[in-house]
Symmetry: C2
Subunit: 270 residues, 2 copies
């Protein structure tokens, strides 16, 4: 009997998430939305799910953070970081001067704003970079922005590579699971917490817990708690595994000083 | 001679930003994009510009924060907070069971996800809530999501009011200008700073400056600095005016401990 690991990812095929999911061994199954990927893992339809969590230019992927915070009790099992190179994808034989409209995911459009405005092309939003590529097939006045895979998949060509505004463009994906990753000696831990808003200096106090234990943060991200302006959830990543003694004691102390704490898991650093 | 104050806002007419801009006295001029609004003020075409900066559910408006941080030297002169009530807008006489597709700005679609999935309607992104309303005129299988003003403007009807997933949905807009607002005794100040990433505990140190001076933060928001994952700009709002002695000394101390600091201005609390 052969056991095949099923891995869900934010599809369709040919997206950057597909590229990240390819780094996992197993059978890849595309899902239409980020909540659908997470739901497939929560309901044990698949063992792992791959979704984007933050981009170095555009920032957090809100729906991923919000879903992990509020809707699902899943663990971050792994992180995958890939460089994002955006390409202008066209029908074979097209020239830049033929292009009037360009289609892509809103994040990709944002990442290429200088190129788009310099070339006076009208941007339009699509559900994904791969959908954008599919939608332009056969129309020479239209281009898409996306990765090399999307161009190959739909018989399109890359007219211009690396059209993103800045370098340093990379996306961090997380692989979620119902189980935790074992300590490897080089781990990070993700937590979410809410502070008591009516007590000034609470965030300062929480950061002091890390400080006095010499634990470095690798990320701090605020998200609206959905309870009103100025009320936040904080997503914090730091070095160490939740089963390490020092991390256990930090997590306990944070728990005593916040009204909401969720440990999203520990995973090897990418 | 009559002097009329010109105020730019993120158009078109009928958007929530239009509603916010209406609270300013003057002649309102719609611009197509957030950078275009800011540019009109920077180049003195208009005296004030009104743009959204954060929503209590969806979080920061990235392009506003990034533009104020990196592209323009403008001051936040005023803040305006308005509650966001989303409505299902349809052609006169339409019923819910006729609706197959719904159009709106991506933030409005996000805010109404439960309603959309319960009613099995296909969501599509539009550039603005007002554009979405305009685009459905005459097609009974299509609906838009937006405010009352957009429905009125295009001869459409509200089939269902308040379809947003959660209450506590409000958006904060800022009025930007080339000049600062004078102290009123009830002010807030906005700053942006970057910490030295290679020195652990730097954010803790900065928050400590506020703490020891008993100054409360009303907002802390991290944004990618566009220099790589884990490197952030922090947008912080706190009580006090930049011309107050205690705030002056806080700003000086932060300046000495960060490698980038920008004071976005002081303005009366809404």
């Amino acid at each position: 009997m052969i056991y095949i690991t099923l891995i869900s990812f934010l599809g369709p095929k040919g997206t950057f998430t597909h590229e990240a999911a390819n780094m996992m061994g197993g059978e890849l199954i595309p899902y239409c939305t980020i909540p659908a990927v997470l739901e497939s893992v929560a309901s044990n339809e698949t063992s792992y799910g791959v979704v984007p969590i933050e981009n170095s230019i555009e920032g957090p992927v809100g729906i991923t953070l919000d879903s992990l915070a509020h809707k699902f009790d899943l663990k971050i099992f792994k992180e995958i970081i890939i460089p994002i190179n955006q390409n202008l994808i066209v029908n074979p034989g097209c020239k830049l001067e033929d292009i009037e409209d360009v289609y892509s995911h809103s994040q990709a459009i944002s990442q290429c704003q200088e190129f788009i405005s310099e070339n006076k092309i009208q941007p339009h939003y699509a559900v994904s970079t791969a959908n954008a590529a599919k939608s332009i097939i056969g129309d020479k006045s239209k281009a898409a922005i996306g990765n090399r895979k999307a161009a190959e998949l739909y018989g399109l060509e890359i007219l211009k590579a690396n059209i993103q505004d800045t370098d340093n463009n990379e996306t961090r994906f997380v692989v979620v699971s119902n189980e935790c990753h074992k300590p490897t000696g080089n781990d990070k831990t993700s937590i979410i917490f809410s502070i008591y808003e009516d007590r000034p200096g609470e965030l300062y106090k929480i950061l002091g817990i890390f400080q006095k234990n010499n634990i470095n943060l690798t990320k701090i991200e605020s998200r609206p708690s959905k309870k009103g302006l100025g009320k936040y959830l904080f997503f914090v990543d730091f070095y160490g595994h939740k089963d390490d003694d020092v991390i256990k004691s930090i997590i306990n102390e944070i728990d005593e000083n916040t009204y909401f704490l969720k440990v999203l898991g520990s995973f090897p650093e990418f």
